[in-house]
Amino acid sequence: MTGPVLRYRNAGIEIGGRSLVRGVDLEVHRNEIVALVGESGSGKTLTALSTLGLLPPTARFTADEAVLNGHDLRGLRTEGDWRALRGSDVGIVFQEPLSSLNPVLTIGDQIGEVLRYKRGMPRRQRRTEAADLLARMHLARPAELLDEYPHQLSGGMRQRVMLAIAMAGEPSLLVADEPTTALDNSVQAQVLELIVETAEQTGVGVLFITHDLSVVAQVADRVAVMRGGEILESAPVGRLFKAPEDDYTRRLIRLAPKVPAVMRDASLAQPAPPAPKPLLELRGITKRYSAGWRGQGTLALDNVSLMVNEGETLGLVGESGSGKSSLARIVTGLARPDSGTALFDGRDLFASTDNSDLQMVFQDPFSSLNPRMRIGDSIVEPLRARGMRRGALRDRAADLLETVGLRSAMFDRLPHELSGGQRQRVGIARALSVKPRLLICDEPVSALDVSVQADILALLERLRAEFRLTTIFIAHGLDSIYSVSDRVAVMQKGRVVEEGPRDAVFGAPQHDYTRRLLGAILDSDPDNSRFRRREETL
């Protein structure tokens, strides 16, 4: 066995005089998956990009040693120098499969390009080889796929295509930059499995970038934890999870999702508490979105009936396109259903003109705040709409800001001056300003870093009790709602396929789809890895 595929010693990256990555030591060997874990801004992606020379033009890369497959990366200056290495020595899979594939070129073209320039294959042979690559990525009807465009593929398929492109040049190092973050949970597992399998079959060394410790636990052989541009700790995966040395690592491990015990032992299920009176009752809600002047349209909601009881939290789970957001829009009055009724506390919900019963916390902390409005004004807007006097508003805003853990002096700030977590707090403050009875949280933490997620969830939990809120908590995977829900409803293709007390759903799922979602939950315990296939080598 030769030396490592990639070796960094004391690597650093500077952009505009600011040191973003420092003192990084890293090694990836053949047939090994090394995970680089960290939250946004930790420098993990920059480090990954530095292996391909894809850093921004203003960035400066320094290292005592930087060797990729025998090439000294420090000597590479021009795009031309790097071109020789890219594709053939190192390949990469990016996070967002849709935007990373060229939308106007066929799949075959995008793979064939690598074969042509990296392996000098003649045209006819390229096609066969490309189809072969796709088949190896377990894609059905590979020959037909060659003539299709990225938008015609599902997210999981696209990521397989990306992997095929990355592997087409037969690289020694594969960089996977959050390859499953943008995918639905049920697909995530398959793609992870494929990466593991590819590494196993080709012996390629994998540098796996992620923020998700449960993914790390499932696939990695070794782990390096990054924070603030430095590697805090590096260890074989088992040792890291069992005996983390750094506080930060410990915290990450603590916050990482675990498979609920009830899933392994249904007898642990606790009986559902007696149902108090229902607060929201949806019956037969159907919504169809028309598609132009002759199209059939898509059925977003198909005869959905759902109940939310006073004081409880309903976890509403569904993958993208399942109709959960449409349901939220209808409940909040943003859209009208084509048919169906809704009772809120016994009254017709759709006839309501008051805003104090229902409020919502949005997923994207960037777009949920008006970028041109001071955050104080955003917070009190619901009150203003109810006619509260101007003088009282400012005091109320100050109270609310402190309630959600922000300084009242932030009233005059604009959203772009705040961090994502702060923005989400503002969104929560706005929703609470009118003391609503029902709060809809649409994936309120999925856009945030792991450590921030915990804070926001804790805040929501505290406020739920304080304001005696009934909550609908929307999520795309079951893993993120176990800890917050009393009851769970699972949606698929516009229908509610399963609804019940939390432990009943997790412990004894009735519907296939629910089972599939449960199966997609990754455990952040390396001992429970479903993919790793061998004993640790180091």
Partner: protein
């Protein structure tokens, strides 16, 4: 916290100062606007006094030029420099007034089309399509018959056809903004339509709007000169660059200065506006590179 606003404003100027093109545009334009404003107090000749005896004097540096007429005189013996300075007024007034008027109409209708949607939107946009097909000249003739010729009717005419561009842009921007979560949040809170538009929609489409409007001032000034070429622009006794250019082209081959200097003034003005507009776009509108 006003210091925050001031910081932002200072940031705006610092950004302007750091952009060579933006500075060039802003500086030139400021100079032109200043000259137009101060036209009556500048030590220049009376722009309308004609004297056939001194017609077509060349600029001072050419043979036969006289110090009293730095840039020479036109076919009526009027001082070209003075006419350019005074003409700046009409050109700028037409540019700004027409843009303001059409922007206002376009903003209101674009908001209505974008916010209401449905049949209102369809009908409005079909009318927009229709207006685009109708030549400005036809409006010009109607307005000239009804309201006569002059700066105000000219502004009216340009606005009558120009508003459609704004309607389209505003509508497109409204459609972009109105699906954003913060608008949804306001709607959930039952914020009324008017406050919703004023507080959430308008402030967010304003940057794109301002950029388009700035660039539009330049094209409107060019439109005025084109209309002058066709005999429909600003008519004497008012002075405009378009009119000077159009008059001067009759003597272009023999007395180049008569049309060249107003042409240079026009080109410089439009140039500066475009520079400034381009910079504004880069600075204000993060959606464009």
């Amino acid at each position: 916290m006003t210091d925050m606003t001031e910081t932002r404003r200072a940031g705006f100027f610092r950004a302007l100062l750091s952009s060579r093109a933006g500075m060039l545009g802003a500086g030139l334009l400021a100079l032109i606007v200043l000259a137009a404003l101060l036209a009556d107090w500048l030590p220049i000749a009376n722009p309308t006094r004609r004297s056939l005896a001194i017609r077509l004097l060349p600029p001072i540096w050419a043979e036969g030029g006289v110090p009293a007429h730095l840039l020479g005189t036109d076919a009526q013996g009027r001082d070209i420099l003075a006419r350019i300075v005074h003409g700046a007024r009409s050109s700028l007034i037409v540019g700004m007034a027409a843009v303001a008027l059409s922007g206002l109409i376009g903003m209101v209708l674009g908001l209505i089309a974008g916010m209401r949607g449905g049949i209102v939107d369809i009908v409005l946009m079909r009318i927009v399509d229709a207006i685009l097909a109708i030549p400005t000249m036809l409006f010009m003739l109607v307005v000239a018959l009804v309201a006569g010729t002059g700066i105000a009717p000219l502004v009216l005419v340009i606005a009558a056809t120009n508003w459609v561009n704004y309607t389209r842009i505003v509508r497109a921007e409204v459609l972009r903004v109105k699906d954003m979560d913060f608008v949804a949040a306001a709607r959930i809170s039952r914020v009324g339509t008017i406050p919703l538009m004023l507080r959430h929609i308008v402030p967010n489409i304003l940057p794109a709007f301002v950029v388009v409007a700035t660039l539009n001032v330049g094209s409107v000034i060019l439109t005025e000169s084109s209309l002058s070429f066709l005999g429909f622009g600003i008519q004497p006794p008012a002075i405009s660059w378009g009119q000077m250019l159009s008059e001067g082209r009759e003597v272009l081959a023999t007395s180049w200065w008569v049309s060249t200097f107003p042409g240079v003034a026009l080109t410089l003005t439009v140039f500066s506006i475009i520079l400034l507009g381009d910079w504004l776009r880069d600075h204000l509108d993060p959606r464009l590179p």
